[in-house]
């Protein structure tokens, strides 16, 4: 993985000094809160419902074991013993004291980490495929480009006060696991006919109040022009993006208003001035960064039938089936450690678990860990012969739930329990659904399904692209949940369709149950939930869900009969 040189260290060190001074000026009253807000946001510090929340950057989701240990240390020393991994592949802490944030940054810097631009109206963490570098279907490892973009966007002076936040994702594989279609900029690494490396360049995707899939604005951009072309897009957006209404300020709205052709024309015009300029990437710079992402020193091994070594162990087989992913090197596999054990908020990990994951990484996976945008962790380079041992160890810490890609692998934002933006809670909904469908046999029967929950329109839980999407809404001061189906991420990205009037919290598990009833009844062999929805449309699902009233009150004890 990328390691800091003198310059990276210097910039992060100077940032801490700058931020420490800003905090001191805030505490002395020299800085007003309204002046401090954009400054602290650019350092990932939010004021939430109960306390400050600090979001730490995990560039493109890649971590060293020591960095994970530092997360555990921060959880213990400055928080309440846990952290929350997010859909942006970052980690956030929910109980932070403002006065301590400069010290946390100092601790982070000791392991080459920071919280720069994890929030605010600037270019955020560049995200990518959690299996980058190891995926069997990879075309080109996207991480060197993600790191190059990270450096370029760090404190880019012109783009720190954009109309709104700005998110970039890069995919380097055949299958898009980076959800590029719902990013402000979505890049796919491709070869052209001449065999040159470049990007299919998309812009204007996003979720929130107005979900829109990105549009291709350039079929092929040679890789050396990555920064200049991105700069052109950013300047058009900074200049013309709306600032009068925060809900219409993302680049997707500008792109829609102008139309793809006109938007692209403006970008190309802007780019004409930048093309081949000094920000044009050099082979030397690419090589310098890329060498940190070279393949590990893999042993020469053959693929083995791991399940056959434990023929009677169904639990292990389930785990292999769901949580272990193919690797491009024979004899290796990628392991997803589930952070979705029933009863735990999706994405939460305790300090003890984090130390444990660091230990596993050191022992079994070249000392590296990845964060997925589905809020799980990955050991990307495990020898197949060690899988049984890894499974047993992971199980002992509650991180081997064999539910990756299944119903209880729920993506959920922190919702009203933590987030001051939320209109409704999301964690209890996730918990109630997980509890009702905890039965693994049932889940394995249902198969691949993505259930995404957001506590508000900002869509941090990516509900629009969930096969089942749940959105918390506020109606007359009480919390309701709107349900959509048919959303999808990846190569066939789609925005889900709302099925009808919203539900109360207690109705939600039954709503999900009824949606699944229709699927089970109507699916044809091998069809996933989302395919059935695509084939049949919303109507049969809607009909069944609303056919008979769902009790709105939880019926408990003798009151059933009162």
């Amino acid at each position: 993985m990328y390691r800091y040189d003198h310059y990276d260290h210097l910039i992060v060190r100077e940032r801490i000094a700058q931020y420490r001074d800003q905090v001191a000026r805030r505490l002395s009253g020299e800085l007003l809160e309204e002046e401090f807000v954009p400054l602290r946001l650019q350092n990932g510090l939010y004021m939430q419902r109960h306390a400050y929340m600090l979001r730490v950057a995990v560039p493109y989701g890649l971590l060293s074991a020591d960095q994970v240990r530092m997360f555990a240390h921060i959880a213990r020393k400055y928080d309440r013993g846990y952290g929350h991994f997010t859909t942006r592949q970052n980690i956030q802490y929910n109980w932070i004291e403002l006065e301590q944030t400069p010290d946390i940054l100092t601790d982070l810097a000791s392991v080459e980490m920071h919280a720069i631009q994890t929030s605010g109206n600037c270019i955020r963490n560049i995200t990518t495929d959690e299996f980058a570098g190891v995926a069997a279907d990879e075309i080109i490892d996207p991480r060197p480009f993600a790191e190059i973009l990270r450096q370029w966007s760090t404190f880019h002076p012109e783009f720190l006060a954009l109309p709104r936040k700005f998110k970039v994702a890069i995919n380097g594989a055949l299958e898009d696991r980076a959800a590029i279609a719902v990013h402000d900029i979505g890049l796919t690494v491709v070869y052209n006919e001449a065999g040159e490396v470049g990007f299919k360049f998309m812009a204007g995707g996003g979720m929130g109040r107005t979900p829109i899939l990105g549009s291709v604005i350039r079929d092929f951009l040679p890789w050396k022009h990555l920064l200049t072309y991105t700069e052109a897009v950013m300047r058009v957006y900074n200049t013309h993006g709306r600032r009068d209404n925060k809900y219409k300020a993302r680049i997707k709205i500008l792109l829609k208003a102008l139309g793809v052709e006109e938007f692209t024309r403006q970008v190309e015009e802007e780019w004409a001035d930048l093309k081949d300029g000094p920000e044009t990437l050099t082979q030397e710079e690419f090589d310098r960064v890329a060498k940190w992402f070279q393949p590990h020193a893999y042993r020469e091994l053959a693929d083995t039938d791991v399940a056959a070594s434990q023929p009677d162990n169904r639990a292990f087989a389930n785990w292999l089936n769901r949580n272990v992913k193919p690797h491009k090197v024979p004899g290796y596999a990628a392991v997803v450690l589930s952070l979705k054990k029933t009863g735990v908020p999706p994405g939460d990990a305790t300090a003890e678990q984090m130390d444990f994951v660091a230990e596993l990484a050191d022992r079994f996976s070249f000392g590296q860990v990845r964060v997925t945008h589905e809020q799980n962790l990955v050991l990307a380079d495990v020898e197949q012969s060690k899988l049984f041992e890894v499974w047993q160890l992971a199980k002992s810490k509650g991180m081997a739930t064999p539910n990756i890609g299944l119903l209880t692998d729920i993506i959920a934002c922190p919702g009203g329990d933590y987030c001051s933006l939320a209109n409704a809670k999301s964690l209890p909904i996730a918990a109630a659904i997980a509890e009702r469908f905890d039965d693994l046999d049932f889940q394995h029967d249902i198969g691949d399904i993505e259930l995404n929950i957001s506590g508000c329109i900002n869509a941090c839980g990516h509900h629009h692209v969930g096969n089942i999407g749940v959105l918390g809404v506020d109606k007359d001061g009480s919390e309701w949940y709107q349900v959509s189906i048919g959303g999808a991420q990846g190569n066939d990205s789609a925005i889900g369709k709302i099925i009808g009037p919203s539900f109360s919290a207690v109705q939600m598990p039954e709503v999900i149950g009824r949606l699944l009833d229709v699927y089970v009844r109507c699916r044809i062999e091998g069809e996933r939930f989302v395919d059935t929805v695509q084939r049949l449309g919303v109507a049969p699902f809607k009909e069944h869900v609303y056919a008979t009233p769902i009790p709105a009150q939880e019926l408990v004890g003798e009151d059933h009969y009162a």
């Binding site: 390691r3 040189d5 910039i11 100077e14 954009p38 002076p157 720190l160 200049t239 070279q294």
Partner: protein, 185 residues
């Protein structure tokens, strides 16, 4: 309305200043407003409406609002001593792109002044985008604000103050302490 800051930051120094910024009051129009004598920085609309009358002035400045473009004065640059860009709110970042365009696209080499809601914590990025003068907010110490210009000693990307990005400017070699790890096969 005439706004005058007795002192501004020029380069990295606090200096006395004798320019005034003309802003239209409610009811005033660009073609009718009287531009007083002396060193005045006028709104773009006033320059456009009164170009003939103002063209002979020895010293004149113009200021752009965030929704006005550098290109709108591209043929007039030699008429101005100062160009200012207004930041009505420090969170509105359009002024940075206007500054970039004035410097890089149009080659403006004269004074480029930030006016309006100009605060210490934005000065470093303003300087990088080509500003060299700052009429900082008068309810704050201008001497404190100067400190905002010396935050970072290195930066990654190319822009106005440093047109060569770090990767072309310096050799960025693998740090000695990491030379034996990570590179793999």
């Amino acid at each position: 309305m005439l706004n005058r800051h007795p002192q501004i930051i020029k380069g990295r120094e606090v200096v006395d200043d004798d320019w005034s910024v003309l802003k239209l009051d409610e009811g005033q129009t660009a073609d009718a407003v009287e531009v007083p004598a002396g060193k005045i920085i006028v709104p773009l609309a006033v320059w456009q409406a009164q170009r003939d009358a103002l063209a002979d002035r020895a010293e004149l400045g113009v200021w752009l609002a965030p929704d006005e473009s550098a290109a709108s004065i591209k043929d007039d640059l030699q008429r101005f001593t100062v160009i200012a860009i207004d930041f009505p709110k420090f969170t509105d970042g359009r002024g940075y792109s206007i500054a970039y365009n004035l410097r890089k696209r149009l080659g403006w080499t004269g004074e480029l002044r930030a006016i309006g809601d100009v605060l210490r914590d934005q000065l470093f990025q303003m300087a990088r985008c080509g500003f060299d003068a700052y009429a900082t907010r008068q309810d704050r110490s201008i001497h404190d604000a100067v400190k905002g210009l010396s935050v970072f000693s290195e930066t990654y990307q190319a822009t106005v103050d440093n047109p060569i990005p770090l990767f072309r400017r310096v050799p960025r070699d693998t740090p000695a302490e990491h030379r034996d790890i990570g590179a793999g096969i």
